[in-house]
């Protein structure tokens, strides 16, 4: 029998957290710095950052643990749960939102890093009761099954049409490949993107 202590998994996780945070901090440097304040409520030197976001056109201010990702800020603080967490690691695309008009994986983005920016989520796409043309096309072409990847697919599709990457089926497939659909509704998704593009 071998006696061994295994806490290496813990340090590996710690490393991942540190590197994810570092990636987020690089992003922060380019933008107005959020105010950081030490708080009595947070333990062991934890701080709170004031984050001002414009989410779906509405100004929101949040006092956040600096570790909070944009995804968890949307889902757990603002109750905008349309944006999904499929992996929390930047590997599936379910959490795709638009930040200042660009596609962003919100699970890899610290909320504090996008302070001052405009965020559009799946909830902000329709004009009241009128669906966005991409949403309409997904309904009509049946570009979904379980629907869990769908918010991310739709947000990617909207951006890729605007960016001019929906020229051919091959181009659509390539540029939609950051969004995994385990149900395998890919051909219906491609049809939806084409339909939306032709109507655009």
């Amino acid at each position: 029998m071998e006696e061994q202590s295994r806490d290496d998994e813990v340090s590996r996780r710690g490393f991942l957290l540190t590197s994810a945070a570092a990636a987020g901090l690089t992003a922060i440097a380019e933008h107005p710095r959020p105010a950081v304040a030490a708080t009595a409520a947070g333990a062991a030197g934890a701080a709170v950052v004031e984050v001002a976001l414009k989410v779906n056109g509405k100004a929101r201010t949040l006092s956040l643990d600096p570790r909070v990702t944009l995804l968890d800020a949307l889902r757990e603080r603002l109750d905008l749960t349309g944006t999904k967490k499929g992996c929390d690691r930047g590997q599936c695309g379910a959490c795709t939102v638009h930040v200042d008009g660009r596609r962003v994986l919100s699970c890899l983005t610290l909320a504090a890093g996008v302070s001052g920016k405009a965020v559009i989520t799946i909830e902000g796409l329709a004009d009241g009761d009128r669906l966005h043309p991409v949403q309409r096309a997904f309904v009509e072409c049946d570009g979904l099954q379980c629907g869990f990847c769908t918010p991310g697919q739709v947000m990617s599709a909207v951006a890729l049409i605007e960016e001019g990457y929906a020229g051919s089926e091959a181009e659509i497939r390539e540029h939609m490949s950051g969004n995994i659909c385990r149900c395998g509704a890919y051909q219906q998704i491609v049809q939806a993107v084409r339909m939306a593009k032709e109507g655009a």
Partner: protein
Amino acid sequence: MAQPTMDRIDARAKVTGAAKYASDHNLPAMVYGHMVTSTIGNGRIVSMDLSAARAAGGVIEIYTPGNRPAFRGTLPPPLAPVFAEARHPLADSEIHYYGQIVAMVVAETIEQARDAAALIKVTYTALPPKSSFEDAKQNPADPPVTGLPLGQPIKKPQDVDIETALAASQVRVEETYDIPPRHHNMMEPHAAVAAWQNGKLTIYSGTQGPAAHALELATVLGVQPADVHVISPYVGGAFGGKAFTWAPALLAAAAALALARPVKVVTSREQLFTVTGHRAASSQTFGLGTHRDGRLNAIKHHTTSQSIVEDPGYRTTPKYYLAPNVDIRLMVTPDMNLPTATIMRAPGDEAGSFALESAMDELAVRLGMDPIELRMKNYLESTLIEAKPYSSKHLDACYRVGAERFGWSRRSTQPAAVTDGDWQVGLGMSTAILDSGRASTTVRVTFRPNGTATVGCATSDAGTGMWTIMAMTGARALEVPVDRIRPALGDSGLPVAGNNDIYGAVGSAATSTVTPAILVAAKEAIGKLVEHATTAAGSPLVGAGDVRYDGGRLVGAGTSVGFGELLTLTRTAEVGAQGTSAPLDESHAYASYAAHFCEVRVNRWTGDPRLGRFTTVVDAGAILNAKTARNQITGGVLFGLAAAMFEEGKVEGATGRISNANLADYLLPVNADTTEIDVHFLDHPDTRLSPTGARGIGELGTVGAAAAFANAVYNATGKRIRTLPITPDKLLA
């Protein structure tokens, strides 16, 4: 005849983000649980240092084997303890597999729970794990006797000596086919939000069977099933992985009870690979012996797998081809230090069809015979063992129509003969057969004063289209436009009959189970409505003798009134009834069929195999909604092709760790890996199965897809790959 087709009624909620999945529920005073998993594959926990975690901000409780949540009972037999993890989470300090739950931190926020979990230090006594299936399959054991048919030997005749029968056959193949472990990887991780009030649990937890989930939770928690309310209208993919109850839901429920606060537990992607079930690796040996004209004389199908839960022999071989001598057997490799094996889309059928349909292709090559001709030579009109006639079988037409649509006649019989620039091009085909059936179930149909009718059953829709099928069938039964039907599912409070129908959407049987019950319930409800019209105060038809229901209106005594208006006049909130479908007619056997045709292109320099084209022709009875049915088939085919092209859970034999437990390293097909799949439905309603005539389709596309791909790879390259997935290294070797 044009098949009915309709947009999914849940699509709008799904494209706008309004659809609420389990983890989308945020309740007042809710706290977050985060699981910690073991970093050894075998051994025991010696000590746990929780001090740093306890001191971290926001931590409320840390559950460990030394501080266990209260589980009072075990998963209810006969199915759940076989198909899910029978051992309670945190039951003791023994470690059975790498990635087993060793703690759960509950904290005020998700960040606090996650980061405190990373501060827990566990000291283990580690033993060498028995985690290598490659090693274990050398010494398999007889399967346990569970009372289920899985794992039981099948022989024809009873005293068959299969080796002698094979030796006496004029032409033989005998080969072994290996499939690595696979993981469901539905996009929605297992998650639960649990809240107790007055001794009753409400739990938002994605499930294929709300009633079974409630029963399993209740039994383990030691409360009455009626005191557990499972709410699961939207399920972000399941594929068999959400058929039974797993640790995340149990821990959320137990912690919420102990802490008297709602608890949300979301499994991380990495944890999903180990704390919930997976498809175990399998190794199958097929021996096929034929006469020179291609008629089979002997079939030997011997499988080794981690457990009995997916038995390719039982599920596949007795329903494919006719042969006088048959020997089917399963051996297991018990007590492995691996996570729990469970069912996954087309359990047994997928692995079995890959092996059998590859072996048939090898046999066709040896016989110099067309693969379709070989299959037609051995066509089954009734089941192989009991000789029960099939209710409705048009597989021959699937072959014929598919060959025509695909251009099968252009296939080169010589392998490695066709190139297109740098690509070798090959064509392959396979057969898909999936048992069909249905459970007797109960549906409630209710008329309302606003002119709508509710159609409710405790079934589930994990993307299958059940919301829409229920609405369409309700509309047909009540003769009203579909927008006046309000389907209800995904709630354990809705009706079930209480037999196997509690498992909801499993075995591709949800549509065939629920739709006939809708017809029965609608009839009952119409009866109640007519009675109401003739008796209720305020009705213009009181006392009328000849009242009948016609297209949503009650007609009689020279007048008529819509049901909404009637209930408004009688000031009645609802009139409705439950109805239970009749049991299945057991005089026949039922199955769905498809013929798959696949073109593969293999790069001659890199060995990269790409999907070129795919055609499938499907005989699945009546197609109730062509739009969602097509999506089920294309998605199912892709699920099967994924096994051929990409999927492999990589277990490190020395540690038991799954080294690719994430979506970057465990490859799933993405959009650019796929192509337009051509689906054609034959239209032969199976009215012996049920009055709606619909058979199962959810798993049908998956069955056989990997073999069609592998057979096309052989035709393209002359290389027969018998170990999945078919990766470039195998084609370059």
